[in-house]
């Protein structure tokens, strides 16, 4: 309790800093979006630079391979650029962009069914993961493959909530559903993930 009390001011400052940083980011996004809407195409490069990793990672979780993820991320940014005039700032730019990326992923998967995602696909242009054993790599690859095979809504919810660390409310806004639905979908996703990997060496850990 004493430790918690001593940490409180530090946590408050950290939380306040995080809020300020988030607000600054949002304000900067708005500035770039307005510039794009005025016709300054180069402002869009700033938005791409800021969100390219997030969008790519979201796509990668969906398709579980680098080449498709890269194509989808590019497609998502192009869609965002074309739709930018209709963006009115009702949600944050990042929420809006995530929604476009999720829709791109869903459309991509629908056009590619049945999903064919060889786990052994080489990623020649990727740097090797730092300080991970081969066993860890295989374990992570198995989990990623299982995540990529979850039902659409469950997969989207799990990826956005766990790997992008968004709040339930943010995920609900992106997916256009209620917070209750998001939480229920996440609960099912986690149970299904465990079932998918049941009996594997993973579960024994």
């Amino acid at each position: 309790m004493l430790v918690e009390a001593a940490l409180d001011p530090i946590l408050l400052v950290a939380s306040s800093d995080a809020r300020v940083s988030r607000d600054a980011l949002r304000s900067d996004d708005e500035r770039l979006v307005l510039a794009c809407q005025r016709g300054e195409r180069e402002a869009f490069s700033g938005l791409v630079e800021r969100y390219q990793r997030d969008v790519y990672r979201l796509c990668y979780r969906y398709v579980n391979n680098h080449h498709d993820a890269s194509d989808m991320a590019q497609e998502a940014f192009l869609k965002a650029f074309k739709a930018l005039p209709s963006f009115r700032g009702d949600s944050s730019f990042s929420t809006w962009l995530y929604r476009i990326a999720v829709n791109t992923c869903l459309n991509f998967r629908q056009s590619r069914r049945p999903a064919h995602e060889p786990l052994s696909e080489a990623l020649p242009d990727l740097a090797p993961p730092v300080a991970q054993s081969i066993e860890d790599d295989e374990r992570a690859a198995s989990v990623r493959a299982a995540v990529a095979k979850l039902p659409e809504k469950q997969r989207a919810t799990l990826i956005l909530k766990l790997y992008h660390e968004l709040t339930h409310e943010e995920v609900a806004r992106i997916l256009g559903s209620s917070v209750g639905t998001v939480k229920a979908n996440l609960f099912h996703a986690l149970n299904n993930l465990r079932k998918a990997l049941a009996g594997s060496a993973l579960e024994a850990r």
Binding site: F44, V48, L84, R144, V147, L190
Partner: protein, 184 residues
Amino acid sequence: MWGHPPDERLLDIAFGVAASELRAHAEGCARCRERVDGARAGLGLAREADALPEPSPMYWEAFRRRVDREIVAAPAPRAWGWRPALLSAAGLLVLVAALNPLLPTPESAQQPRTLPAWSALPPVAEDTTLQLISELEATEELVAAESTRLGIAGVVDELSEAEQRELAQTLQTLLRDARAGNKS
């Protein structure tokens, strides 16, 4: 507590943020405990894949350049893309209204047609019909693109209430002017 809590409440237990009453239920209920344990195990497994293979810094630079190239190649998005299409739609309506008296009717088709004398036509600079035709030609390309994408009804559907009011007023004014022109 009556019955089993819904899944979203069970998720709160798995994430350790549930109220004590809820936690107590899950501890005493085999069905709920099994599902909460399943979600916790799933959470642990999902965390095994936190890290993704990271592309090199050069990849991001190439990615950005690729997006830039595509954007430069793409037509510039238009914030007011609906305006040319609506202007043309309005112009088309007015043109039809203006030309309506000249179109043959079943009765008039039986009678010899009489065209207005050239001297009765307004000067070219004041002829609103010619201006509308000119605007239609100027926006033909834009209309074709918009109409293909949405159709006129689709364009109208995309408008806000204020924009729809503005369109209705524009159409009424143009139609009134055209009728007045026909009478004179």
